[in-house]
Structure formats: C-alpha cells, structure tokens
Symmetry: C2
Subunit: 597 residues, 2 copies
C-alpha cells in the first residue's frame, strides 16, 4: 500500500472507460458511485456478501482480509479485489464484471386503444408586416396558447429557417412538439431495483424502435429497496443522491435506445415511468422513508404527469412524463403495468398474477373484486440467498431436466462453464429431485443412504455431503439442503400469499382458473417446475408466463389514454392485503412450505 | 487611482448593502449588474446620458472626462461619479440614488367574475396498517392524482406531524397547494421596462395584501427595450443574462410584498405576468431578437401557463404562472391587462385607450371592432429627451398651473427643491403657455419680444434666452423651445396614432366617446392639460385617467377565469395596425404636431 498526501486520485473503470477523481483513502465503492458505474453491493458495502468483485489492472491496491476470504491467492495476485473494502491510494484502472446486465427488455405490441398522440402535418405561412403574428399563431390560428413552451422556440427556429410545412406532435388540442419530420418517440421506462428497462416507441405508429436494460446505478447503495431507503434515512442528502443515481441510469438507458434507433434525444417527447414505489419516490426526489416503517405510507400514489424538465432528464424539456400509479407501499406502478397487460378483470374465473422480481407481488381476482399483496420472496428466486446462487447471466445454470433417454441435462446461459445457479435452474432441479423423492415432502434433501428406491443412478451418484450437510453436485456447483430450504421458504411465502388473497376474495383454491407469471424471474421460470414444487395453486386450469409484462404495460400507459384511465381505476379499486402479522397468511405458510406429494 | 495586480475587489452598494467582487479594471456598471443593484443606464453605459450618478463614500476612484461634464468640481470632490465610466481598482463603498423607485403599484379591487381558486378545509384520516394509503389518497379519495407534486410532499409532512385537518388551495378538481392555515397568496406582476410592479393578493378573498415596485435590474443593459434586445443580439449569453436580471427583480419584488404581508414565499401559490413582449420573452428566457426587426415577430404570443419552478422563482414550485397574451410584437400583455380593466368592448360608442409608458400603446374601438397600434412617444413624456427632464421622483416639477389669484404655481414631488421636470409638469406648462399664446399653434416658444398682448407678467418675466434659444425659467429649471418641440413630436405621434386607428375603424374623430389614459405616465397626466395640448381627440365627451390599469388587470387575470378567457379573446380579435411606413399616420402626424387653437 502506498501512503500519500491527501490529494485526488483518478480511477478509471473498464470496459466503460468511465472515470472519477477521489480523495486519497476514498473507497472504490464511492469512486464507482461518482463515476456512475453500477457495481453490485447487495449488502450495502458492509464487506459481507463478497459480491462487488473487480480486478485492478493498473495501479497499487492493498489486500484486505475480506479479499483473502473472497479470492484465491492466485486471483489476488492477478489483481482481484472487493470494491467495497478497497481504499484508493493510487491512480487505478479497474476492470468491472459486465455479466450483470442481462434480460434486455422485450416489448410486445399490445392493442393500443384510444391512442393519446397524433402527428399532424402543419402549414406555416410566412410572417409579413401585415401579419405580425408569431409562428405559433400563424401555424395554429386561435390555438397558439396550446403550444408547449419548448415547441414555441423550436417553431420560431423553423420559421426563421424558412420551413413552411412541418410536423406537430399533438395530444388532443395541445401541441407538444414540432419538427421538420414526423419522427417523435416516447420512452417506456420500468425502473427496477436492479435493472432499469427502457423501450423507445414511435409515438405515431406505436412501433418499438429500440429497447435496452441498464443496471440501476443505485446498486452501489445496496441491493434491495430496504438498504436504499436506509441510505436516505442515514444520510441528509441520501434521497437526492439516490435520485441522481437512478435518473442518470434512466438517462443512460434512453440514450442507448436513441443511439440504437438513430434518433436525437430531443425527439423523445413523452415518457411513462413504472416501478416499485420506492424507485418512483426516488426518481421524483421524494423521501421514501415512510414506505419502510409502519404503517407503510409513501408520499405519492403516482398516477400524475409532470414535465421531463422537472426531472432534469436529457430529453425534450416539455415532454410529459406519466408516472404509473401504485397500489400500496410495496405494490407499485410496475405491478399496475403488468395488470394492464394481464387484464385480470376481463378474464373468465379467478386469475392470479404473480410478479416475481426482487420482491413478489401477487394480485388475485376477477371482474368483481381484485386484491393484492406482497412478500419478500425474491432474493432466493434471484439466487441471492443460495450458496452458489447467481443472477441469470453467462455461466448460470438456468435449466435442469431429467429424461430416461438423456439422463440429467444441465444447461448454462451462454453454454458457458457453470459458475453458479440462478432461480429457474434451482426450481427445475427441485422439481426433478422431488419427482424421484430425493427431496421429501417436508423439503429435506435426503442423504445417499436414505434415498428411496427408483432414484436414477445419475442422480443418486451426485448426492454428496458438505460437512454435515447433504448436497447435490451439478458439475462443480453444489446445491445444498440449506439452499432447498431457502427455495422452500420462498415458494411457501408466495403460495401462502396466493392463499391469503383467495381467502380474502372468499374463493376456494380450485376456483383459480389461470395463473400468470410475470416479472424479472417469473418470465424465465418453467411452468411445469413451478407446478411441481407447488409455487402455483395445483388446481389452476392454466399456468402461463407473461414475459416482460411490466415493460409492455408501461408502453401501453405511454401510448394510450384508455390504459392510463384503467391504471388509475385499478390502483383505486384493488384492495391491498397486508401479510405482516396476518394470521391467515401465517397459518397457510406452515402448510405451503411442504412440497406436493 | 490605485493600480494593482489583477485581482478581485469588493464593491458594496448602499443603502441596500448588496455587494459584488469584480476583477481589477471592471466597470462599476458590471459590479452593479453582478450585485443586482438596479442603477439606471438609459444610454446602455455609453457615457452619453450622464444618468448613472453614484457617490463613492469609501475607496479610491479615478475622475473621468465624463465625470467633469456631469458634476461640479465640488461634487467630484465629494465623491460623485458616473458608474458606467468608473473602472474599479480599489475596494469601494458606493452610495446609489434611491429616488428612482417611485410609483409603488396601486391595485384597486375590480369585480372578480368566476374566481379560479377556492380554499377548502380538508380532513386527513390517519394511516393504519389496514389503510396503507398516502396522505393524498386519504385526504382526496379518488382524486389523489390531481394533487400537485409539491403538495404531495407538503401533505406527507403535515400527516407525519399528526395534522388531521388542513387547508387546500384548489382550482376546480386540482389541488394546487396545502397548508395548516388557509393563507394562500398570488402575485400579479407587471414587468415594466423600467419598473417591475408586484401585488400580493389573497387567493381566497381577492384582497390585496401588499404591493411594491422595484427597478428592473435589466436597467444596467440600457433604458429601453431596443437597447436590451441589442444586448441579446450582441452577446451569446445576453438572453440568459437579461432573463436572470428580470427574474431576480421579480423575485425581489415578491419577497418585499411577502415581508410586508408577513407571509412566507412558499405560500405564493399562483402568479400572473403582464409585460411588453420583450420583457415577457426575456422573463421566459426566449430570444427577443425577432421583435426588433421586420417583420417584427416574436417567439411566443403568451396566453399560457407554466410552473413557477420552470422560471426558478423562489415561490411555491408548483405555482402556476399565467402569462398574459400579447397583441403584437410591441403591444403586450400589459396592454391586454389594461383592457381587462378598461372593458372597451362593453362601453357605449368608440373608446380610445392610451397606455403611456416607456412606449405609447393605443387601442381603439367598440363591441364590434378593436384595433391597436404602438408609437415610441414615451421618452419625451418620461423626461428622457428633455434638457432638464427627469423621472417622476423627489424634486421633479410635476404640476404647473396659473390662476389670476395665485399667478404661476409650481409644484415638485415631495415639495423638494426643484431638480428637473417630469412629463406631467411639462404637459401642464405647455398647456399654460399655449393658453396665453406664449407657445404658438406651430409649437414655437415665443421670445419675450414677440409675446402677444395679455400674457400675465409673472409668465412673461420668466421668458429668457439660452444662447439663441428661447427658454422658460421654472425657478432654476429652464424649459427650452427645443423641449417644447420634443413634447410636440410625442403628442403628435400619439394623436396621429389615434387618428390612424379611427381611420382603420372607419370612425370620425368626433365619434370618440371616451378617452382613457393609463400607464406609468398616463396615470399622472392631468386630463385638462392633455386636452389643452391636443394629446387626446378634442371632441371626446369624456377623458379619464385609469390609474395603474395594467396592474389591476394582472390581478384580474391572476384571480379569475373569465378574465383569462377575455384576455385570450382580446389578443385574438384585436387587429394590429403598423404605423411604420404607414401613409395615413404620416399624413396625420404633420397635422397632429400643431397645438390646438
């Protein structure tokens, strides 16, 4: 370690090339935050989770006790370090993992009912001494006051350049923007705690021009919503800091889609924001503290429109930003967006929507009644609490199957060397093991000596023991009995949540007609595995994956008035059911922990 | 003069105490601009007008040739200097004249038809685990989306403090602001080129709480609109600089009314802005260049609403700011505001409104047709082109009368020693002198030798000669034949403007029923003098002064929907008549120069 007088060092992050200057002794985590490099700090930088792995490729970096826990001596020699524990005392070049950005947003093409925006060709007669009217008055006689402020200046510019026919983006009588051509885009943004997904949509045709996902730069302040909210409580400028981080990520994501679509940022003339309530509060610069303490009440329910200028986004300043409304402090506009696509209220019988992301939000009901709840099942599904768990990314075991012909088939994302297991892989494995009784109905992973008859040899041969704990070897990736317990807790919480909602609706479990799986994890889970482990009600006639429903719903809310009205109506009418201290949920949970016979 | 290495000097302005640090050699004018001290620079700092008089009370200041023209040796000894010609090479304390701020806004209480704002008492049930709704949803069930963004945060604060009943400022269904008490104010702002007038109005009752006038800090960049626009053309950041200056003045004026009313700035929850088009463009940060070159077309016709936050005003961020619409590039929202009070379209017969400020705007017509024009008559009326002319302020001769009993009576503002003559005094004097034939119908001020019989001795005795020029001595203040010519040009321009509009309407001069005088100067002129010199059509049955009609109209536009609609309708239907190169006006002007027989 080099000691040096207190002065600034330059830290450059690769492969992005982003850089920051920090005072001597600052942590690499702070440098990453300053440079807006989204490194993962799930434990909030406490040195516990060993997740913020980087490699120092240039400059001197001390080795901490945490590094010795996290890395082999050879890896340390090669420059591997934990970012949260490294104090900067030299100019550094730091290589960051890039695998974390995955699941680029996919946007379908839902039916746009009552489109909000139209693009019109407008004539602009030249000014004369006898017609001393502004361009706005000449182009829109009698309606100049309905021209947005920035459009006035743009229109005056077109006028000065002698343009006599231009395109106007209108919403009803209001002129939102003008341009030489009719290309006006909107951005549908789904602000996830982990990933911000952006889709760039042509406002005239509804066509998706480009889509992307960017790691939420707030990751530096903790992996989950609670860690982020804690940061705002512990730091006077915490809300502003996190607001800047997420707005920078949104800006970056929009910029990427614009580059991909070959469109200037200033042509982004409308936005829709979906997200969990904490993310929405932070994006709006509102303190989220109330969301995290009883009685769990935030500042805004969303559902309104503000100008992009107010958020400081680098798009067309007058662009209206519609913020999707939320249902409760932890059932947000992303869930409402998914409901815009799922249309529970238009389906036959009772439908259950399970939105599995960092959190699990569940909505159940029909045309008559709808209710919702939320449970913190996400981490297990996303690999966070699993010993070799990882997010869906290159090298993650994401599919496990067994057939008589092929035996055990293990698939990794990118067909890479297995590096860990993600949620869908774990669910598949549990389903296979349960099928042959290797996991018993109580969730116990049986040791080799206790296996029932009929377990295929290629499964039995992989049962090992890690100390006192039984484990299953997936080619160098050990899934332990404790991991199966984590999965059991997660699926039990979700199943008990569904049961609590059904009880609230006065519906029997077998009244469930359809189960729809959505969300970052819900999109990737295999339906048969979800059924096999009892994640979804066994009697459901139909279980289907909805894909990126929140993103598609945000697109609908961006484009159509009917969707905005439906979103507000849903937020208003859906009853929120609190699971904390809920005796119904507690009773159901004990039972729902079990795996189906 | 001290020479010193290039470093910053501190300049402190008295009596305000405002200060600025400037590099060595910077002009005192720049220092005043930096410190937002509104010194008058009518010639734009060219050293011509000798108006930017200050006194250096501490620090060393060089004496320029301009100072020797402007001041006596004794005054120079006492520290008197011209601010525009003084290069700063020492820390300075500078005493500024305060007389320039006069004519504090007066606001009447017009009839408010269809008030826009209501204040409601609202109950706020506490949140519970069973009612996990934001304060906005609990207070406004089903209408939370109509709560303004800042009101959400304020409401959450009241909720956290346990407030269970609060006041809401509403416009229709929209909740604009909330507070513990029902005191919400609006600010009606009339942005004059010289003075910014602000009235603070209770939004619930319409009562005027306080009113003030502040010198437009743009004065440092020239006295008139043309000099200011030129600054924006000559300097890349000119528009932004002038925007900052006028917004700082508006902020200052609002702050002063708030202090006077004992109300926090954050309770200013709505604004209305009136002003000439150049001032409105600059306040909105829009380039005004188009207003000053043919075909005289600006960027915005006004008539819309934006958020106070967008202007960076230090009031309630969500406060809607209504910008009064304008008629043409030099007939602005201030004139529309005056029309809201004058109600020409509701009067019997043809009415002429003459708004005499830095510029003269004239509107003529009746319920069937209205037209408007503008002429640059202001400077003479405001004393700018008169040898001993000055603005209405302490020591200005503002009233001149002659009666058989008392002879010549000369009044000065503040009953101070006469220091100069302002517009209303000049008009009075011209009327008196014309009455006795001391001024002949062609406008010639006759020398003592040529006086007609019957001129009272105390008038004849004051006729003197300044070199070859005849002058009239008003107790140390000489009014020259050239000054009378200036007045003649100004009144001729106005009278010809009126005539041109009447011709446009197809109305005879004797069809004029009523003449209304408004504006900074129009409010002070005596009706009989205006008639005597032919400023107003001789046949008019009624000539009345409207007082501060623009300010009162801005208040109406702030408070009532009917006024806003009427403003938009007026801006739309009034025909603008260009006087430049107008043959009708040119013909009439030659005749209108003459004084009535």
């Amino acid at each position: 370690m080099t000691t040096a007088p207190a002065h600034a060092y330059n830290v450059r992050f690769l492969p992005s090339g982003k850089a920051a200057a920090v005072p001597a002794g600052a942590s690499l985590r702070d440098a990453a935050a300053l440079a807006a490099v989204p490194l993962p700090f799930p434990c909030g930088g406490a040195g516990r989770c060993l997740n913020c792995r980087v490699r120092i490729v240039d400059g001197l970096a001390a080795v901490s006790d945490w590094d010795r826990r996290a890395f082999s001596a050879a890896d340390i020699e090669r420059g591997h370090r934990l970012a949260c524990r490294l104090a900067v005392f030299d100019d550094l070049a730091v290589e960051c993992p890039t695998e974390a950005v995955t699941n680029k947003g996919e946007h379908g093409a839902e039916d746009v009912r009552r489109p909000l925006f139209t693009v019109r060709a407008v004539d602009l007669p030249p000014p004369t001494l006898a017609l001393q009217k502004t361009a706005a008055e000449r182009a829109f006689p009698g309606a100049a006051a309905a021209v947005a402020r920035d459009a006035l200046a743009d229109l005056a510019r077109l006028d000065a350049e002698g343009v006599r026919r231009f395109s106007a983006l209108c919403r009803g009588q209001n002129v939102l923007a003008v341009g030489r051509d009719g290309r006006f885009a909107g951005a549908a943004i789904d602000i996830g705690t982990t990933t911000v997904a952006a889709a760039l949509v042509d406002l005239a045709t509804g066509e998706t021009l480009a889509a992307t996902g960017a790691l939420n730069a707030q990751a530096s302040f903790g992996a989950d919503v609670i860690a982020r909210i804690k940061h705002t409580i512990d730091h006077a400028d915490g809300t502003a800091t996190l607001a800047r981080a997420v707005l920078a990520t949104i800006d970056e994501a929009i910029g990427e889609t614009c580059r991909a679509a070959g469109l200037g940022r200033d042509r982004v003339a409308a936005l829709a924001l979906a997200g969990n309530p904490a993310m929405i509060h932070l994006a709006l610069g509102l303190a989220p503290a109330g969301l995290a303490r009883a009685p769990y009440v935030g500042v805004t329910p969303g559902g309104f429109t503000l100008a992009a200028r107010e958020l400081g986004l680098a798009v067309y300043g007058s662009a209206p930003v519609f913020v999707l409304p939320s249902i409760a402090s932890n059932v947000g506009g992303d869930c409402i967006a998914a409901l815009l696509v799922a249309r529970l209220e238009e389906r036959e019988g009772v439908t259950v929507l399970i939105d599995l992301g960092t959190n699990a939000e569940i909505v159940a009901g029909d045309a008559k009644a709808l209710c919702a709840c939320s449970t913190a099942a996400g981490p297990a599904f996303e690999g966070a609490t699993i010993s070799r768990g990882m997010r869906a990314g290159p090298g993650a075991v994401d599919r496990v199957a067994w057939s008589r012909e092929e035996g055990l088939a293990v698939h990794t994302i990118g067909d890479a060397e297995p590096r860990g297991i993600c949620g869908s892989g774990l669910l598949d494995l549990a389903a296979v093991l349960r099928r042959f009784g290797v996991i018993d109905p109580t969730g116990r992973l049986l040791p080799a000596a206790e296996l029932p008859p009929g377990v295929p040899g290629d499964l039995a041969g992989r049962i090992t023991a890690q100390g006192k704990m039984t484990a299953f070897d997936l080619g160098g990736i050990a899934v332990t009995a404790a991991d199966i317990r984590q999965l059991q807790l997660a699926k039990g919480a979700v199943a008990a949540g569904v049961g609590t909602l059904l009880e609230h609706l006065g519906a029997k479990e077998d009244a469930v007609e359809t189960v729809l799986l959505a969300g970052a994890f819900g999109s990737f889970v295999r339906v048969e595995s979800a059924r096999a482990i009892g994640l979804v009600p066994p009697g459901a006639a139909r279980v289907a994956a909805l894909g990126n429903a929140a993103g598609r719903g945000a697109r609908l809310a961006l484009l159509c008035g009917e969707a905005r009205e439906r979103a507000r109506a849903l937020a208003e009418r859906i009853t929120y059911v609190e699971l904390a201290n809920n005796p119904v949920w507690r009773t159901l949970f004990a039972e729902a922990m079990r795996f189906p016979e």
